[in-house]
Symmetry: C2
Subunit: 221 residues, 2 copies
Amino acid sequence: MTLRGRKKGETVPQGVVVRLPVYFRYLTELESAGAERISSAQLGEALDFTAAQIRSDLSYFGSFGQQGYGYNVADLLDQVKQILGIKRDYSIVLVGAGNLGKAIGSYEWFRDEGFHIKAIFDVDPHLIGNHHAGCVIRHLDDLAIYLAENPADIGIIATPKAAGQSVCDLLVEGGVGSIWNFSPTQLTVPNGVIVEDIHLTDSLLRLAFRVNEQTRAQEEC
Amino acid sequence: MTLRGRKKGETVPQGVVVRLPVYFRYLTELESAGAERISSAQLGEALDFTAAQIRSDLSYFGSFGQQGYGYNVADLLDQVKQILGIKRDYSIVLVGAGNLGKAIGSYEWFRDEGFHIKAIFDVDPHLIGNHHAGCVIRHLDDLAIYLAENPADIGIIATPKAAGQSVCDLLVEGGVGSIWNFSPTQLTVPNGVIVEDIHLTDSLLRLAFRVNEQTRAQEEC
C-alpha cells in the first residue's frame, strides 16, 4: 500500500492517530444510514472538529475530497480503514477470562472488523475447559506451547494488576508484537513491542477532575 | 479548597488533565513501596515526561517542591488527589449488568478511592433480583424512581450501543450530571453534563494503526 501525500518514513502525529478512529466510527454510521457524500464542513460539525482540521488530517494521507462535492462516504471510509490498517485479519490471544475478559471476548464488533480471538487463557481451575466466544479456555501454562504453534499478532491482557507484567513477558517471549493492556499496570516491554493501554482508573479520574472543575467554577460565580 | 497558583476561572489544559491520573498511579505505587521523596528528574524518568514538563504541570496548581529536596511523596500524592477531586465520595448508578458491567462493578479500586456503586440496573429478566458487588440488580424501569429518592453523582453506561443514548437520557432526566460511557456510541447531552467515554474500539484501532505503521516502516527500510 502506498500512502499518498506522506514522505517516506514520516510518522503520523499523535493527534491524527487519536482522531482517525473517530472518523472511522462516524463514517461507518453514515454508510450504514445510506449517506453517499459529506463535506468537510458537515464532518466537522458532526465531530466537533474544524473543517480545516479535517482537511489537514485527511490530506496527510493524500487528497481525497473534490472541491464543491466533498467526500464520497464509501471511498473515504475505505481509505480510513486502509490508513488504520483494518483491511486485514489479526490473530489474537486473550489472557484473563474473568468478567472483563469475557466482555472483550463477546464484543462482536472485533470479529466483524477482522480481529479474531483464537485462544483464551486463564489460571482459574474453575474456568479451564469452559467455552467462551467460540474458544476453549486453556491454562496459562500452555500459552508458550500454543504460541509456538500458532503465532498471534495481538495479545490482550485482561488480568488483575499483579499478573499483568508476567503475562506480558510470556506474550512477548512467545513472539507477540502488540499488547492491548487492560490490567492497571504500566508494562515494561522491549523496543519494538507496541502497547496500547486501557486505563479505566485514569478515565474515571479524569471524569472526577472535570466534575470538580465544574463545581469550583460554579462556586466562583 | 483553594488551588494555589491558578487564576480564578482559569481552566486546566487537556494535556495536564490527561497526565494527572498518571502522576496519581505512580505516586500511589511509590507510597505503597515506602518511598518518602522524589525529585522531578526521577519522576520524569519513571513516567517518560521531561522534568520541566512535570514542574510545569505541578506548578499549575501551586508550588510543591523544594529546591534540592524534591517532592515529599505523601504530600504530593495528597495534593494530586485534591486536584483530581478524589478526596470525597461519589455515589454511582451502573446501568448494564452484562460481563462488562459486572467487571466494572467488581473493580475494588473504585470503592477504595471513594467511588461507590449504589445501584445496578438492567433489562434482562434473568439478571433482575440477582446480587452483584453488594447491590441487587433492579429493572431499568425503576431507575427514575430510584434516582428521585437517591441522587447520584455519576452514571455508568455499560449497555450495548443501541441502548446507550436512551439510558443516558434517563440518567440526565434523573439529575445525574456526569456520565461514564462504555457503550460504543457518541452520546448527546445537555450543556453542563459531563461525559467521559471509554471507546474500546478506538483504542484497538489505534493499536492496529501502530502495528501497520511499524510494518510499513520495516518495509521501507
